[in-house]
Homo-oligomer: 177 residues x 2
Amino acid sequence: MQLAEAKEKFIQAWGALGSNWGINRTMAQVHALLLVSPESLSAEAIMDALNISRGNANMNLRALIDWGLVQKEHKSGERREYFYAEKDIWQVAQQVMLERRKRELKPVLKVLEEVKEIDPKEETPETKAFLESVSNLSTIVGQADKFLDIATRAERGWFLNTLIRMFARTMKSDSKE
Amino acid sequence: MQLAEAKEKFIQAWGALGSNWGINRTMAQVHALLLVSPESLSAEAIMDALNISRGNANMNLRALIDWGLVQKEHKSGERREYFYAEKDIWQVAQQVMLERRKRELKPVLKVLEEVKEIDPKEETPETKAFLESVSNLSTIVGQADKFLDIATRAERGWFLNTLIRMFARTMKSDSKE
DNA sequence: CGGTACTTTCAATCATTTTTGAAAACCAAT
DNA sequence: ATTGGTTTTCAAAAATGATTGAAAGTACCG
């Protein structure tokens, strides 16, 4: 396979993954492109590589900067801006976890708490079932949140080791517990 | 707050969360509705509760069944079908992890492997950077996949305990490692 | 200043996804 | 085998989300 072909394939796959997870396909593609570019790229270069308009490139670059995944660079002497992506994938993952937690998990947790405050006069089975579901849900979502918080702060090595340890345990006691 | 109001709020929040994560808003709402209904519901009831058409209700119910989150029930004497959701949230979470892993993580892992096979004659910095990014990426994605595999099989209690242990550790050695 | 080289914005357009609703298929009871 | 209640399908319509492109904005330079 040629490099160009491989890049293309990777960019497409990353775009598809993104769009399955609620991230704008083009934004994911721009990110993919920057990830595999050793040098920072101008808006121009990105537009050309992905066949998108200036406006589109600009918007998605801003969004990526907003997510903390991409940064601007001013090359001295040059007037135009260049963009490059954080290359340490663990950092990228952490940044994504941080943002999604903030943007999506927190609001849901908030609603779950609010919704627990039902007028307790209603003692129907419906109310009971509702409160039970909600409280289970907020337990799990809360745990996920806590977990992501840990992952977000952890050193890559520590986190990895813990995973391995967990994995080893599971293997040993596989179908018995 | 009244029960009806609380339900509505919850259904909306769940729908919004779903759509941020690439899941059809209505599908998430149907799921939410069934989650908080102690009794199984007919398609009719769901259509009414969410103001959606028969076709829409049907399609999303099928999709939920497909994801293993909802099941049909035939009430004896009745001709119409009733639907209910798995209420154990840990099981729901596991099912979702299982499906997304299968549907989205696996294909990406496959592409990452394919894309490593570049004609090694191209020894440019671009090729190097590309291969490095890809290999880092497949390490992380592979680890995420393995982690989800564990989570997917684990008993709720065991998993929770491990999380707590991880959390305790992090707290103790917070900013030093 | 005024010009040049860019970046940003945003209303209009285009593309994709979701929803509808009516027709077809299904299926149990007569 | 016909009826009536029900589910399923799917082409078309509606809604939503993404993209464009041109105009407005910004900043640097002489």
